[in-house]
Amino acid sequence: MALPVGTKIGIGVVLAAALGYLVLSDTGEGVLEYMYVDQLLGDVQKYEDRTLKVHGLVAAGSIQRKKGTTGDLRFVVEYNGERLPVHFTNIPPDTFQEEGEVVLTGKLNAEGVFESDEMSAKCPSKYEEEAGGAAALSAGKAG
């Protein structure tokens, strides 16, 4: 290119500075640790009170819908024999059901209950049933 070297360096510096600012101002919000129920319960102290995503199966018969002015949902998710009680305070996605796979976003509180208001639910039987076949997922708050 026929541009003077100074101009080129200038452009480079401006772009690098802008990019640098963006990276430095990134609070890490939006990047969440992701794990299965057994890993979360394997190290409760470490994960307590951290916002993270946890993956498991909704335990059969565990869904309780409470109807009050602060309506909410309680259920248990399990994985590899470990059970995690969940308190969910949003509209569950349409594919939420017992024995379905869910991914919840929230925090483990001091009582060992996972407080969540965001869920993706996967439904293995919804769409195609072949072994290893398709599964539809549906977003709760924001996939």
Partner: protein, 702 residues
């Protein structure tokens, strides 16, 4: 003969014919044999015939309800409306691959037909590449995903049909996947011609003239697909938004970004003979991204709202194909690098070329960023898997400090799963980076048309920038002090910095476009007295590409205007009894009653609400829950929204207790959201104006 057999044979013939076409084209090109090349062109048309036959067979199977075919059994239901039976064809993996082949063979046929006389040398190579891509997808149909697969034994066929997910029974869903497919598939055409140009060494503008309109077509349909998908999410999923950076949404966005870059940089090559290599890179990357997107959505490598499910064999096959594309294409590019030198050099930073160059870098950065962030969670997952199963890999990860050896050993010793460090990346992360990048692109949308080719004089700069800058400042002031988008009891909502920047840039860019039109009209009227309307129409018709482009820009500005409203979004989650009133910003929402009804397909509970603003009734909201008889355990959430120019009042319900009428609902106020759809309509209009460009003009325009 059962349809399943007939269809399977058709798919097999499709595969064999496409392989034969590749062979004919390659041998024909090598021997310079007109007859063989002609044969390969006929082969390509033949492929289209067979693909059409196979598609009609599958469509027939759906309409006839032939559940002896597994794919039909799983994806249709006798009670489904006919429209959804037709669209069930591409509703799931196997059929969508057949649909892909159908579109690809259609576009290949059309593109070769329309370019046969003009760019004869390119033809055999373009045919070979298109037929190779078709052969790849046909092979998937034959060997892995035959949509005509019958049950192994006739009596294995279940009697109870499954049917299409009610969530997908929505008019947007009828149009959304096919328009994305149209866009993605048509990008194979520019790629094939670009590669043909590289192979033959005829890398001047000829190949681009063959593909410019195809790229525009692809760009337009990708945009339509993306926005329809957004509308679907907005109206069906009930979380009050339309874009969540889901991997599948991103898969469609990626090629759109590189396409947009290409449509701009191609002008630099036409006008100034620069960026030849870059344009080829963009064509390769765009095509690669369509295959990458298909890989993301079809193989289950990433978790997503709409992914089709996990399938490692398919993932590996796609992976291998992607490697071949990358190595082959960039290898060719390297081989021909000497032919791709620029005729001119960049003369000034304040020039149209440089604005386009910046725009291209931005679009590419956006694409790389989105691709990286989309894949990152999957990479952490693979990495974790490797570390759990392979010691050598674990050792490397320990030594570079990515995994903590102490924590790992402790976990394994106590029988716990090792901390593999999987992460997910949510919308907040994408927004953090993409908001400023998007705004920078909006700024360039305004600046580009104001600066001249080669270099711009200071006087011209002042003349061009004065009015738009004033407009930007006015927009900023109006947004900051004039229009309360959202008023809460304590006064104005806190103003968002990005929101304000966006308003200011919208004002600036909007005025640059107005100025261009105004000056064009003024010149025409000076040359020949005529009405403003006549002058405007004449202006657009004379230089469709240029003014069509401005109309697209205008649409983009309006879409950004709508996105700026996002910064002022309100959200409330609450439980209500009938008779209660909820406040949402300026609006009062009264819960009147809950009503239970039913039709032949489903039970419905509808919550009736009245919306008032400052005491005046402005409309009704009717959010509902539907229980389809087909899937009673999964009620669907039916959103209700009150559309106004200032924004949407949007409601969705979670629970209704019919004994007391107590209901739990989410209320949203989405300021300016409808301007996104308005802007998008303008973008389509502008795109169509550009598509209608006459050939002669395309060669000289700018």
């Amino acid at each position: 003969m059962p349809i399943s057999t007939f269809g399977s044979i058709a798919v097999l013939v499709l595969f064999l014919l496409s392989v034969a076409t590749v062979v004919l084209a390659v041998v024909g090109a090598a021997r310079r044999s007109e007859r063989l090349v002609e044969g390969s062109v006929q082969g390509l048309h033949g492929i289209l015939g067979v693909a059409a036959l196979a598609s009609m067979l599958l469509e027939y199977a759906f309409l006839a309800g032939d559940t002896s075919i597994q794919y039909v059994h799983y994806n249709s239901h006798p009670a489904m409306p006919v429209l959804y039976k037709i669209t069930a064809f591409w509703g799931s993996l196997d059929g969508s691959l057949l649909f892909w082949v159908l579109l690809l063979s259609l576009f290949s046929s059309l593109a070769i037909r329309s370019n046969r006389q003009r760019h004869r040398v390119l033809i055999p190579h373009a045919v070979a590449i298109l037929a190779t891509i078709i052969a790849f997808f046909a092979a998937l149909l034959v060997f892995m995903k035959n949509p005509f697969e019958p049950w192994l034994l006739p009596d294995m066929a279940p009697t109870q049909p499954k049917g299409l997910n009610p969530l997908l029974q929505n008019p947007y869903m009828v149009c959304h996947p096919p328009s994305l497919y149209l866009g993605m598939v048509s990008l194979a055409v520019p790629y094939a011609f670009g590669m043909a140009a590289l192979i033959t060494g005829q890398v001047d503008e000829a190949w681009q003239r063959s593909v410019r309109r195809w790229t525009l077509f692809a760009w337009l349909f990708l945009a339509i697909g993306l926005v329809l998908g957004g509308l679907w999410a907005y109206e069906e999923l009930g979380w009050g938004g339309y874009w969540a950076w889901d991997p599948v949404e991103n898969a469609g966005l990626l090629p759109w970004l590189t396409c947009t870059a290409f449509l701009h940089s191609i002008m630099v090559q036409e006008r100034r003979g620069m960026l030849k290599m870059w344009n080829l890179v963009l064509v390769i990357v765009s095509f690669f991204l369509t295959i990458f997107g298909t890989f993301l959505t079809r193989s289950g490598v990433v978790q997503s709202v709409h992914a089709f499910g996990e399938d490692p064999a398919l993932a590996w096959t796609f992976g291998a194909f992607m490697v071949v594309i990358l190595v082959g294409s960039f290898g060719l590019l390297f081989w021909r690098r000497r032919l791709l030198r620029s005729r001119h050099e960049l003369e000034s930073v304040i020039s149209r070329e440089f604005a386009f160059l910046l725009n291209n870098w931005m679009f590419l950065i956006c694409a790389l960023f989105v691709a990286g962030a989309t894949m990152y969670p999957t990479i952490t997952q693979w990495s974790g898997y490797l570390a759990e199963n392979h010691e050598w890999y674990r050792e490397i990860m320990f030594s570079v400090g990515i995994y903590d050896e102490g924590a790992w050993t402790a976990a394994v010793q106590s029988g716990r799963p090792p901390p593999v460090g999987r992460v997910t990346i949510g919308p907040a992360f994408f927004n953090h980076y993409m908001t400023p990048l998007g705004l920078a692109l909006l700024l360039l949308t305004g600046v580009g048309p104001l600066v001249a080719w080669r270099k711009t004089s200071t006087e011209s700069l002042v003349d061009q920038f004065r009015a738009p800058l004033i407009a930007g400042v006015v927009a900023l002031l109006v947004a900051a002090f004039g229009i309360p988008l959202v008023r809460t009891e304590g006064g104005f909502e806190v103003l968002s910095g990005w929101g304000l920047t966006c308003f200011a840039l919208c004002g600036f860019t909007f005025w640059t476009i107005v100025q261009e039109f105004y000056r064009g009209v003024a010149v025409r009227r000076r040359n020949r007295p005529q009405s403003v309307i006549d002058a405007l129409i004449g202006l657009v018709v004379r230089a469709r590409r240029r003014y069509g482009g401005y109309v697209v820009h205008l649409g983009i500005v309006l879409m950004f205007f709508g996105w700026a409203g996002n910064s002022y979004k309100l959200e409330r989650k609450l439980g209500m009894y009938p008779g209660e009133v909820a406040e949402l910003g300026d609006y009062e929402i009264e819960y009147d009653a809950a009503v239970a009804t039913q039709d032949w397909q489903k039970d419905m509970i509808t919550v009736e609400m009245t919306v008032r603003r400052k005491g005046d009734e402005i409309g009704q909201l009717r959010p509902a829950k539907w229980w389809y008889y087909q899937l009673p355990e999964q009620p669907t959430t039916e959103v209700s929204r009150l559309m106004r120019p200032g924004g949407d009042v949007y409601a969705s319900i979670a629970d209704v207790d019919m004994t007391t009428g107590w209901t739990r609902l989410n209320l949203y106020y989405n300021p300016l959201v409808n301007w996104v759809w308005v802007g998008f309509s303008l973008l389509i209009v502008g795109g169509l104006i550009c598509l209608g460009t006459k050939r002669e003009e395309a060669e000289g325009g700018g």
